[in-house]
């Protein structure tokens, strides 16, 4: 199927989500275009992760529609085109005795098929991807023994190994020290520029992010801003985070 001309990777239309009688998301329109590096920001509890889960079909919205690669989510089948790095603490069991190699190989399972094992081509692909994120030397280490930043690179490798067109990351820098966060964003912008990978990054930490992304969307129940990173101004943040925003936008320091 040749659909390289498709430029809208993700399109969310009029999404509303309620938990009990509390409105988490209200009438959200959001789209991600080919080649963008979109930073989706908002304070804790603003509905960012919920929006991502709706985008990926993990949660059902109360209203609105989602399409991925211009196909409705309900009939979408090409999941190998989407790389997803879940919020680690919430989803992944890190006590699991798996090596870095084993974790990354999971990213290929949907391609490998039933009763089949990884062949030489797959193994080479895993090595290349680990090299790409700078984790090849840790290939046989246990995932639980690595630092938060290293684990995050492994999860990115797992998402990249199936050669997706878009990479979606949910709060990837939580629990990672400031210097590592900097290197992490450099890795992402290299993937965006050199590999032409479309990126959607969800974070509550606006500080460093704005230097690297091409587009920004601010979420706090509704979308407060959605446009290119150049047009994004501090006033947009103040309307969302309140007056304490300076702490977030300038000195990013080491947040825990």
């Amino acid at each position: 199927m040749d659909d390289n001309h498709i430029s809208t990777m993700v399109n969310m239309n009029n999404i509303t989500f309620q938990r009990g009688n509390q409105t988490i998301l209200s009438s959200i329109d959001l789209s991600v275009h080919k080649g963008e590096f979109l930073g989706l920001v908002g304070p804790n509890g603003s509905g960012k992760s919920t929006l991502i889960k709706i985008m990926l079909g993990l949660l059902q919205p109360d209203a609105g529609t989602v399409s991925l690669f211009e196909q409705p989510l309900t009939t979408f089948k090409h999941w190998e085109r989407i790389g997803y790095v879940p919020q680690k603490a919430a989803s992944v069991n890190l006590g699991f005795p798996a090596t870095v190699y084993e974790v990354v190989s999971m990213g290929l399972f949907s391609k490998v098929g039933l009763f089949r094992f990884l062949n030489r081509h797959h193994k080479k692909k895993i090595d290349e991807t680990l090299q790409q994120v700078g984790m090849l030397e840790y290939k046989h280490r246990n995932i639980g023994e690595l630092s938060g930043g290293q684990q995050q690179r492994v999860f990115i490798a797992r998402a990249l190994v199936s050669e997706p067109d878009v990479l979606i990351l949910d709060e990837p820098t939580v629990g990672v020290d400031a210097a590592t966060v900097q290197r992490f964003y450099q890795l992402l912008s290299r993937l965006n520029e050199e590999e032409n990978l479309t990126l959607l990054l969800v974070t509550h930490d606006v500080g460093v992010m704005t230097k690297y992304v091409s587009h920004v969307a601010c979420l706090q129940q509704t979308l407060h801003f959605h446009g290119s990173a150049g047009d994004f101004e501090e006033s947009d943040l103040i309307s969302m985070y309140g007056e304490n925003v300076e702490i977030l936008s300038h000195q990013h320091g080491g947040h825990s």
Binding site: K53, L56, G57, L58, K77, W79, E80, I82, Y84, P86, A90, S91, V92, N93, G95, F96, P97, A98, T99, Y101, E102, V103, M106, G107, F109, S110, V112, L114, F115, H140, N142, R158, S162
Partner: protein
Amino acid sequence: MMELTFLERGIIAALCIGLIAPLMGTLLAVRRSSIIADSLSHVTLTGISAGVLIGGTMQFIPVHPLYTGFAFSLAGSLFIEKLRQEYASFQELAAPIILSAGIGLSAVFMSLAPSGQNEWYDYLFGSVVSVGKGDLLFILITFIVSGLLFGLFFKELVFVSFDQEGAAVSGIKMKTINFLFSFLTALVISMSMKVVGILLVGALISLPAAAALQLASSFRALVLWSIVIGEAAVLTGVISSYHLSLATGGSIVVSAALILGAVLAWKPVSARIFSRRNQL
């Protein structure tokens, strides 16, 4: 198969169980749901009691208690899976409810049954000498079915156990895999009934995985160690129970517990040896 002695039948059955039960145990351990095996084994007992009751009162219906046991076990595991999904905070509560309801119901069935109380005792603690031809056939069928399912879907089962969301987004059909988890758990428990018994099947599922977790640094190694430890435990258990006339399930589980104890004792010793070696 017809010429086998009861001990040979018992050993074949035990080898099948020693492979599949610890394999299931590794997945249940990393899913943090080892307790489910214990609850389900009690529901399986309810099914077995129902089978014994039907067999005793309505002899025109040809039922083998292991098959009714499996049916109840499957229903119970689907019910638990449903609770796991719909009430995340209910998970701990589901297990004891199912466990006590299962054992209560099976006691009622057994008191209604005109005969079969001795048979019931065999199902509680397992007895290698009670493995008849029909039982061995059931064990072999369930062994082949579960072996095939593990072979077909092992990658998916592992991925789902490690990271539910990641697996869902990679295109794995979560409903299918979750059903498969329930189906396999039910299958493994009902196939172990005759040899290990209801009260001890949970131990055969979780003890080898617990010992293997101490030894393994990769998932591959975890699976291999669990199977090796499981087979070692069932073989020592079956042979010692035969020669010393002990309850088979008891000897198997005591062997598994001794292996776990040895592994736990060895760990600090080996750590000291290796750290000394690194200092040199």
